[in-house]
C-alpha cells in the first residue's frame, strides 16, 4: 500500500545523506510505527513518502501510484498530518475541515456527514466553531488529525500526532489510531516507544538516516531479549548476608553476584548476573531453599524494548550486523517477571 524504494535525501550535494536508502513496504490494514530519535530522518522520509519533498534518489509509491509522477492519484489516497501541523489561523475548525474536504473533491453532503463522525471520534464538539488561532496546541492537533482523516483515505500518515497533547488526549488519539488498523494502512511516526507499543503491529526503527531495525513488535521484543544485556536476577531473602552469599556461590551459570543487608529486619537484597539467555532463577531458588533461607522475591530484569531502542539508535551502533542476525533468533526463555 505504501512503498519506499531506496529513498535517499541529501539536502546539499556531496553532504552526508539525511536519509540513506530507506526501503520498506507497508501492507494494507497494518499500523506501522516509524520510530527514531529526533533528527533521525523520520520527517524527511515521510515528506518524501507523501510527495512533498523529492528524493535525491529512489522513490515512493502509494497503492502503486508514484508520489511524484502520479502525484494527483497518490494524494487522493493519502491523509497526512505533517509534523508542523500548520493550520490557517483565521479559519474556524469546521471551515478548515470543509476546506480540506472540498479540495479532496467531497460533495457538501458527504463533508457534513464526515465532520459529524469526526467530531465524535476526535473530540471536536467544543472546538468546531472556534477560530484555529484561539485553539490550544492539543486542540489544534485534533483538528489536524481530523483533517487528515477527512476524506477517509485508505492510507494515513501521521507525523508525531500526539505532540502537545496531555496524557488523556494522547491516550484517546492512540486508541483512535489503533482503531484505524484493519481498514486503513497507517504509518505513525514518533519518538515515543509506548505509542508504538500501544498502537502498532510493526515497528521500523530509523537512526542516522538508516533503517536499523524492522519487524513485528513480537519479533523486536525477541530480538531485544536475545541481543540485550546479560540477564540480571534480583533476590530478596531472609537470613544473614554470609548465608545468602554462600548459597548463591553454588549456583551454576552465574558470572557475578553479591548480597547486602536491606534493613534491620533481617532481609537481604542480592543480585546476580548470568549469561545472556540463561535463566538461573530456578537454580537460585533451589540453592536458597536448600540452605533453609526464606525467599520473598526472585525477579529477572528482562531487556526491554526501550533498552533495545536506545541501543540500536545509538550512533556507535552498527546496524548491519544486528539485522543480519535476525533469522537465527533464539527463543526467549521463561522471562515472565
Amino acid at each position: 500500500m505504501i512503498e519506499a524504494i531506496r529513498l535517499t535525501k541529501r539536502y546539499t550535494p556531496g553532504s552526508p545523506p539525511a536519509v540513506d536508502e530507506v526501503s520498506f513496504v507497508l501492507e494494507p490494514g497494518t499500523v506501522t510505527g516509524f520510530l527514531g530519535p529526533n533528527g533521525a530522518g523520520k520527517s524527511t522520509t515521510i515528506r518524501m513518502l507523501t510527495g512533498y519533498l523529492p528524493p535525491t534518489s529512489g522513490g515512493a509509491k502509494i497503492d502503486g501510484h508514484d508520489t511524484l509522477t502520479d502525484a494527483h492519484a497518490a494524494r487522493r489516497l493519502l491523509g497526512y498530518l505533517p509534523e508542523s501541523n500548520a493550520l490557517y489561523p483565521e479559519m474556524r475548525s469546521v471551515e478548515f475541515l470543509h476546506f480540506v474536504g472540498k479540495l479532496q473533491g467531497m460533495p457538501r453532503r458527504d463533508r457534513k456527514r464526515r465532520i459529524e463522525e469526526l467530531t465524535e471520534r476526535c473530540g471536536l464538539s467544543l472546538i468546531l466553531r472556534r477560530t484555529v488561532a484561539r485553539l490550544s496546541k492539543g486542540n489544534r492537533q485534533r483538528v489536524g488529525i481530523a483533517s487528515a482523516l477527512m476524506h477517509d483515505p485508505p492510507v494515513v500518515v501521521l507525523d508525531e500526532p500526539t505532540s502537545g497533547l496531555d496524557p488523556r488526549q494522547m491516550s484517546e488519539v492512540r486508541d483512535l489510531i489503533r482503531d484505524l488498523g484493519g481498514t486503513h494502512t497507517v504509518l505513525l511516526s514518533t519518538h515515543l516507544l509506548p505509542e508504538v507499543q500501544r498502537c502498532c503491529d510493526r515497528a521500523i526503527i530509523i537512526a542516522g538516516g538508516r533503517v536499523v531495525s524492522d519487524g513485528s513488535l513480537d519479533a523486536l521484543r525477541d530480538e531485544a531479549l536475545r541481543t540485550g544485556q546479560a540477564g540480571t536476577v534480583l533476590i530478596e531473602a531472609k537470613g544473614s548476608v554470609e548465608a545468602v552469599r554462600t548459597a548463591l556461590a553454588g549456583v551454576s551459570g552465574v558470572d557475578q553476584f553479591d548480597a547486602t543487608a536491606a534493613d534491620e529486619t533481617g532481609w537481604v537484597d542480592a543480585w546476580l548476573v548470568s549469561d545472556r539467555g540463561v535463566d538461573v532463577r530456578d537454580a537460585a531458588a533451589s540453592a536458597l531453599q536448600a540452605a533453609g533461607l526464606l525467599v520473598r522475591e526472585i525477579r529477572r530484569e528482562v531487556p526491554t524494548l526501550e533498552e533495545y531502542f536506545f541501543r540500536v539508535t545509538d550512533p556507535a551502533h552498527t546496524p548491519s550486523r544486528e539485522l543480519a542476525e535476525v533469522p537465527g533468533r533464539v527463543e526467549a526463555t521463561g522471562g515472565d517477571a
Binding site: G51, P54, R76, Y80, P82, A86, Y88, L103, G105
Partner: protein, 242 residues
C-alpha cells in the same frame, strides 16, 4: 477550476482577517478622496480622470501590500506542506490566489462608487470614460497582483516580497517612463526606446482613462499578467527541487 475557486475563497477571507487589507482600503480611499476634492471645482468637466491618474500610481505601492503574503506566508507558516500534499496542482494554487487578489482589487475599486455618486448628484457625468478607466484599473491591478504573487513565491519573508514587488512595479512605471526620455537613448536606438515605452504600464493605461478601449492594451496586460503567473507557478514547482 473548482479547486482554484476553493483556494481563492479561503485566501479572500484570509485577506480581510488581516488589518493590512483595511489599511490599504483606507489609504486608497484617502488618496482618491483628496485628488477628487482637489479637482472638484464648479465649471469643470464631471469626470474621474484626475482620480484615475492618481490611482494608477497608488496601485504601484498598495497592491503589493495585499499580495506579499500569498505564498510567502504559506512557506513561513508551514501550511504549504499540507497544501502541496493535497490533490491540488501548482497552477491551481497560483490561479486561486490571483483570483482572491483580483477580488480584493474589485472591492478596492468599488470605493470609487462614492465620487461617482457625488458627480451624479451635482452634474451629468459621462459614464464612458468612467467605465473604461475602471476597466483599465482592473487590468493594472491584475498585473500588479500577478507581480506580487510572483515575488511572494521567491521568499518566505513578506517584507522582502513587498519590496521585490514594488521594485518590479516601479521598474514597469518610473524606470520605463524616465529612461526613454533620456537624450542618449533617443540617439542610440529609437526602436529600443519605443519598446521601453511600450512596456510602461501607465502609458498602456492612459487610453483607458481617456475612454478609449484598444485591443493592444488588453494584449499587453493579459500577456504581462500571464507571464508573472507562469513565473509564480514555476517558482512554486521549483520549491520541490530545491
Amino acid at each position: 477550476m473548482k479547486a482554484a475557486l476553493t483556494l481563492a475563497k479561503r485566501e479572500w477571507a484570509a485577506l480581510f482577517f488581516s488589518p493590512v487589507a483595511y489599511a490599504v482600503i483606507g489609504l486608497f480611499g484617502m488618496g482618491c478622496g483628496l485628488v477628487f476634492l482637489t479637482g472638484f471645482v464648479p465649471g469643470q468637466e464631471a469626470t474621474l480622470r484626475s482620480v484615475f491618474g492618481a490611482i494608477v500610481w497608488l496601485l504601484v505601492f498598495l497592491v503589493p501590500a495585499i499580495g506579499m503574503k500569498f505564498i510567502s506566508e504559506e512557506i513561513s507558516g508551514g501550511t504549504i506542506e499540507r497544501l502541496m500534499t493535497l490533490p491540488v496542482s501548482e497552477p491551481q494554487i497560483v490561479v486561486g490566489k490571483w483570483l482572491a487578489g483580483m477580488g480584493f482589487v474589485v472591492v478596492l475599486l468599488g470605493t470609487l462608487a462614492l465620487p461617482v455618486l457625488v458627480l451624479e448628484a451635482v452634474a451629468e457625468p459621462d459614464y464612458g470614460p468612467i467605465v473604461s478607466g475602471t476597466l483599465g484599473l482592473v487590468l493594472v491591478g491584475g498585473l500588479y497582483v500577478a507581480v506580487a504573487l510572483f515575488a511572494s513565491a521567491v521568499t518566505s519573508s513578506q517584507v522582502v516580497a513587498y519590496m521585490a514587488a514594488v521594485f518590479v512595479n516601479c521598474s514597469l512605471t518610473f524606470v520605463l517612463f524616465f529612461v526613454p526620455q533620456t537624450e542618449w537613448i533617443k540617439e542610440w536606438s529609437p526602436a529600443v526606446r519605443a519598446a521601453l515605452q511600450y512596456g510602461n504600464v501607465n502609458r498602456q493605461y492612459a487610453d483607458f482613462a481617456k475612454g478609449l478601449i484598444d485591443l493592444r492594451h488588453f494584449v499587453y496586460f493579459l500577456t504581462g499578467t500571464g507571464l508573472f503567473l507562469f513565473g509564480a507557478v514555476k517558482l512554486l514547482e521549483s520549491r520541490r527541487w530545491r
